[in-house]
Symmetry: C2
Amino acid sequence: MEIIFLGTSEATPTAEKNQTAILLKYNNENILVDCGEGTQRQFKIAKLNPCKLTRILITHWHGDHVLGLPGLLQTLALNNYSKILHIYGPKGTKYFLTLLLKTFAFISREKLKLEIHEILKKETILETKDFKIEAYPMKHFAPCLAYSFIEKDRYKINIEYLKIHGIKEGPWLKELQKGKDIAVNGKKILASKATTLKKGKKITFIFDTLLNENCVKAAENADLLIAEATFFDKEHADLAKERRHLTAKQAATIAKKAKAKELILTHISQRYSKKEQLLLEEAKKIFKNTKLANDFMKILL
Amino acid sequence: MEIIFLGTSEATPTAEKNQTAILLKYNNENILVDCGEGTQRQFKIAKLNPCKLTRILITHWHGDHVLGLPGLLQTLALNNYSKILHIYGPKGTKYFLTLLLKTFAFISREKLKLEIHEILKKETILETKDFKIEAYPMKHFAPCLAYSFIEKDRYKINIEYLKIHGIKEGPWLKELQKGKDIAVNGKKILASKATTLKKGKKITFIFDTLLNENCVKAAENADLLIAEATFFDKEHADLAKERRHLTAKQAATIAKKAKAKELILTHISQRYSKKEQLLLEEAKKIFKNTKLANDFMKILL
């Protein structure tokens, strides 16, 4: 599993940071979380192919999180993107996407097959044999969602153990992988011995929200929590509340309470551009394993 | 007068080139011609302040020429832009801008004072004492305009000459600057001797069009013609016609026929990214004073 930060600025971009977009690569899935203006160019700079995208998760319809969508969709259409592109987002997503497709005189847009999923409450929005994605309502000025990508636990076959017991490949291996004991040629094989549990990874994305109880629920036991930290609690705790954003301290508190393993802070206000380290320190006092995001930073899980 | 290329790519951006946007600075005017996705970030990288913008000229409503508009407008609103922003564009501009303002959940957008000018035919769209801007209909898949910025000729006062004749400052200088002879204390002063003619500069922007007779009209006697050259005539003259774009050869032919002084080619298709010099050579065979545009290139006139 690989996570690539394609944009890490707050509402307006800087020379160094584009607006929010994060790519999650997992097997054949290429999932984009948010799509700030200029995201398609970030793909180019990172030498990534946007045509590999399978899904887009929109946290909310504020410009700095979605203004890259029309250009990206147009580029997919121009490149004969032929898959169904699934777009998930909060209430209003269908309305905004319809307007958006009307607004811009797309070339070839009619070619694009979009499936739009509007998420109205906490729910599992997708489940496959390998992973699921959960959405949690957040509290911002526009309907907003946090997302968790949760890889399922897998039982990896212990090949040496099966060899010793003379068990060959066959459909029974699938049973073992489900954690079920089997009997082959009268021999009982215990799943607990024939397999090793490989815990699935969990990544949670929390953007643009007032601190609320769903934050900890969303991030529970996450291997990685990526959270906005627009404000420095020490200086602007009140402003964070007024603007419905998190502070670095609050992001760290969520990570701690949720028993997350790692925290990455992003979407930091430009007013702190010369002292981002202070926000990092603020967070680290509460949750040690914290990092700051930068454009094109890659994380392997 | 200064021209800054903020984006020089064709329909999709590259790692090196953003989508079309050109800034023209003249006295208190900061005029943006087109606004491709990511233009507001290009302002940041070039250390330019978008709040100094006075006008935006839109050539046509294809994504690669306008998708930077919502983000730019939002940033202006967030920065308390208080002037009236004049936006000029072809038929459909009012409709598209209204939809666009509805589509994105702008913060503070109600603060922004926009004056939208829809241009339906060849006309002088603005005239001040110092300059005028003309628009010429082009031929593309969407209504499209070429623009010429035309600085007016000025008569500069010859101070030494007036000193010799004992003429002091006064309202009569304005008359001389209009090219009129005057009489002061019974002395006749000839405008032709008391002033020097300073020819105004003319810059023409031609984007996304099939070659058509308005191209030469728009660029007539231009000091600088900035023209799209999406295709290499030698290889893709037919494709240029089909896609309603200019070739490098056609752009040069326009410059030659219009008696322009300089030509800059931009919006070149990525298929030629490794051989842009061939397009330059193709143009130079017809019009010698040709250059290729690059992001952040500056031209002083």
